[in-house]
Symmetry: C2
Subunit: 338 residues, 2 copies
């Protein structure tokens, strides 16, 4: 089959790769219904993470189970499944606390920008639907695997409550999903910080009540003005730079929580400053598995349409163009037909 391999900075290829096989009794093989490119795939693509050997790319996935290992009990061939980008046993103490992304057996998914993929820890990772869903739901179901689950975790970690005031820092796919999540959690006001018209429009469609296009001190002042000089109850930090984190902290009222899901790159936090601002913080790789059944239900019942975040669809053989389009911000997120 053909799959996606990253060789180094800017060098991603669709090429012949071995078909995946069951390696452990807890594995499953799935035939992907669709795949996609993640914002985090751009880090190694941009040369910001070391690539020492060709990497099998892709960690967002949904599809039909074709084979299961001898120990797999909860899914069977023929079922449609979605799984998290974090593979987990869903039974260890961390999983039981709802932090499956810190599972004692945690692995990260790879190789899902391809027609078939191996899913380790299948019982703890995959969630099956009762029937095979309609094709038009596939983009939204695929989104639950990572980008929606991550935006949802940001809102959960930021403790969004009905009626609360939320600021979303970052208008990438995860930030937009954070807007959707805050809306589902019945936030009263959702302020999306975005400078790009197409992303502003999508934020409004997903439930943003206000758009702030300014950044830095000016953006903070605008958020303060919108909140009666109080600041937000919850801030979703969906970027991961020092600037975005500083902006998130400055937009938070005392006692607010920041849910941060952008992997921090070189972010140092001053303890004394956080102390006196009384800013609460919780972040990390999203424990998508905790939310997955609920998110899949919301999609299957057509209450949410997170698949709208895909604004470019390409066949797998054009995966390199998909990376380029996201890298150049011509696309928010690329869906791959596999």
């Amino acid at each position: 089959m053909f799959g996606t391999m990253l060789y180094g900075k800017g060098d991603v290829r669709c090429e012949a790769v071995p078909e995946p096989e069951i390696l452990k009794p807890t594995d499953a093989i799935i035939k992907l219904s669709a795949s996609c490119i993640c914002g985090s795939d751009l880090w190694p693509y941009r040369g910001l993470n070391d690539v020492t050997a060709p990497m099998a790319m892709g960690h967002e996935y949904c599809g039909i189970v074709t084979q299961v290992g001898s120990a797999v009990r909860t899914v069977r061939p023929g079922q449609f499944v979605v799984g998290s980008f974090c593979l987990s046993d869903n039974t260890c103490p961390h999983c039981r606390f709802g932090f499956q992304s810190s599972c004692e057996q945690r692995e990260f998914m790879s190789g899902a920008q391809a027609p078939y993929a191996r899913v380790p820890l299948a019982d703890g990772t995959l969630v099956a639907t009762d029937t095979v869903p309609d094709d038009d739901l596939l983009p939204s179901l695929l989104a639950t695997s990572d980008v929606l689950g991550t935006g949802w975790y940001a809102a959960d970690a930021a403790r969004v409550q009905p009626g609360s005031t939320v600021v979303v820092v970052g208008d990438g796919a995860v930030g937009l999903m954070g807007v959707l999540a805050a809306r589902q959690m019945e936030a009263g006001r959702i302020i999306a910080m975005s400078r790009h018209k197409s992303r502003q429009d999508l934020a409004l469609e997903f439930g943003a009540t206000d758009i702030v296009s300014a950044r830095g001190a000016e953006g903070i002042a605008e958020v303060k003005r919108l909140t009666g000089n109080v600041g937000a109850d919850s801030v979703l930090e969906c970027v991961g730079t020092g600037e975005s984190m500083a902006q998130a902290i400055a937009c938070a009222r005392p006692g607010a929580m920041i849910g941060y899901v952008g992997v921090p790159h070189g972010v140092e936090l001053n303890g004394e400053q956080l102390f006196f601002s009384q800013t609460g913080m919780l972040g990390g790789p999203a424990p998508v598995r905790r939310f997955l059944p609920h998110l899949m239900d919301l999609v299957l019942s057509r209450k949410i349409n997170p698949g709208k975040v895909f604004d470019l669809t390409l066949p797998l053989e054009d995966v390199a163009e998909g990376y380029r389009a996201m890298d150049e911000r011509r696309a928010i997120k690329t869906l791959l037909r596999v």
Copy 2:
């Protein structure tokens, strides 16, 4: 009258000072029933904070109202009151969110190591009892003003739940009050990290289920062993150094909250490390006013006895010896008869 003034490092004096007067219509004057020395008073006493002019010391207080300004509505002369070390209007948005220590009008109390004190923002700050309480309750009522309220906030910020596993870092008066708070919040297991026999004994009396006397890597390993290699659900950081914060983070399970109330001195936090450890954090000056009515009820109904944290009682004229005893760790906390 005589009051307590700090002139510089190690130089604290009981000397003649003017009696306090109503300066604003929102002020009250109280005759203190008792006063005490706070661990935070030791920072300037040790020369770690600049002292550019003589400072009127003391911010923990309870006593009888003797005068009120013309705008004061909720307390009247003759009433027994307790107030927070943070003075607040209790009406601004931050106060209504329960973060009175970030009140838009916030001031910090001073001059309470004396027989009389002025309390600004009396309506928002003071809580009166129905009747004048018995003398034996005074130490515990005094404790609610700061040290208990601060330990309580640490437990609240760390989201201690019934049945949860709690680690308390720091065996000073605040840490010991954190143990008491966690016990009242029905924590299932309370691990106090303490190296001093007298403090260990008090921690056990206040509800600690386990004592860990080792620090650093060895202490962390012991906490991990006690928690089945999982870590604690909630960690109370009651010191404020880089070492104590690192210890708190290492003792927390993924998804745990750290409530930190030791003012961070030179603490830098690595964003990427906090992200991957999924450590939640909330700290700051305690919004004691939020908890004060409940804490006073617990004392008045004799359900808790936080006053036991005072292990040295001195007359006001010996205040310098009180500072020395705490500085040299001969005393946990000094009560002053005023």
